[in-house]
Amino acid sequence: MAFYSVKNVYKNFGSNRVLKGIDFELEEGQVLAIIGSSGSGKTTLLRCINFLEIPDKAEIYLNDENIFSIDNIESVAERKVESEDTTSDIAPLSNSEENSIGMVDVKSKKKKREKKEKINTVKLSKEKQKQIAEQRLKFGMVFQSFNLFPHFNVFKNVTLAAYLKCQKTVAKDLMKKTYEDIEKRAKEILKRVGLGDKLRAYPCELSGGQQQRVAIARALILQPEILCFDEPTSALDPELTREVLKVIKDLKKDGHTMIVVTHEMEFARKVADKVIFMANGIIEEQGSPEEVFGNPKSEKTKAFLQESEKVIDEV
């Protein structure tokens, strides 16, 4: 079986079916690029991988171990029938909600939100929550908007999670040694992403590209099995994009397994070992970059790739 495999991922937000059965596999050391237009479910899929969203149904395997299984699809469907009138679309806390119902007056918005919360939050058992907390650390996450902690300097941003983790797992008398190890490793990682001289800087003093590289370092310190990127360069200009993508490329050389949601087609073509094109909550096409970019089988893929080239031509 593959190093990492995801089976049958379903996710609904209210009555909006965002993911409708996603299956894919990934080998160790490979880079997977997920492409697709906005609203195709790429980001939701990545967030499900990270357990930032809990899928309604999914089976996830890592290293031949079933790390997470869930099947709430029926209870979610039932709840939906109970409250037919909640027609709204996106999760209570997702960014896009503001846009989608921004026009609705505040009161009905609130009502809707409360109802939506009811249908969306299938209560997870304590066991499941514990399982998620454990498994989550195997997946590093780099966000589009960096989400660094602005009140900590670069070094603290990177080391914090590792400190907290060892407080839980390491015996008291070994703590000092462990702390020193963490500090050493943090310095190495920061050097690796080209920020060896910025340890004491605060995020507000850094450029977007530097901030994103700190975010990458912060995710790396926990030594995740798989590193996930959610449009890591969407907030950056081309020059800063280049420096971030270079870091990702370097990480590939180091043997990191990565899943990258991206709009950078060139990057996907050159760096990825495998490309997934998503449309309307399903995987429309997957394969090697040569297959997907060079010889797309699906009409939708063709249209999408043509569209993205057209944009460049028109400009």
């Binding site: 996450m141 966000f143 989400n147 660094l148 009140h151 914090l160 999670a161």
Partner: protein
Amino acid sequence: MNFGEVTVELLNASKYTLGLFFLTLLIAIPFGMVICACSMSKFKPLKYVTGVFVWIIRGTPLMLQIIVVFYGPGLLFGTPIKQRFLAALIAFAINYAVYFSEIYRGGILSMPLGQYEAGKVLGMNRAQVNRLVIFPQVTKKVMPAMSNEIITLVKDTSLANIIGIAEIITTAKSIVSTKAILWPLFYTGVFYLVMIGALTVFFKWLEKSMNYYKA
């Protein structure tokens, strides 16, 4: 009564003003956090009860609240609060805690979701995210609103004269009525200006000391 004597009298009265001010802060700052936690609670009944409480406290004059705390227990249960200062302190602490709680709530709501998510993916539990990520940033965010509210508190202590606490205004009024001179009442303004001047300098310094990062 000459200028020096009035000054001494008013300085003497300042200890009630300052006492009320500092003790109110000492209680209201942490108590406000409790109220804030209640009004943001996921447990709906607690949330609604707190909402009504906040509405009542914000919806009635502080002066009335002082009167209610001072006279209420006596009228209702026959056990009057003997100490005027304690009654005023209770009323002030509750009133300001409610206002502080709303400032805290605003600060917490203004935190981007991404900060919670970043904490989550780094393996922090909810308490750790709050303690290490959210609260330190909220502290900085609420500083301007808090200093505004705290400055208002200095002046609001004068409301305690309604139950005869010998703070600055009460003292000045009694001088005015017993010695038939009006200026001590105007002179009280200087005392408030000095106290608030000191506070302003303090808050400027505090905000500056938090300026090592920008959100």
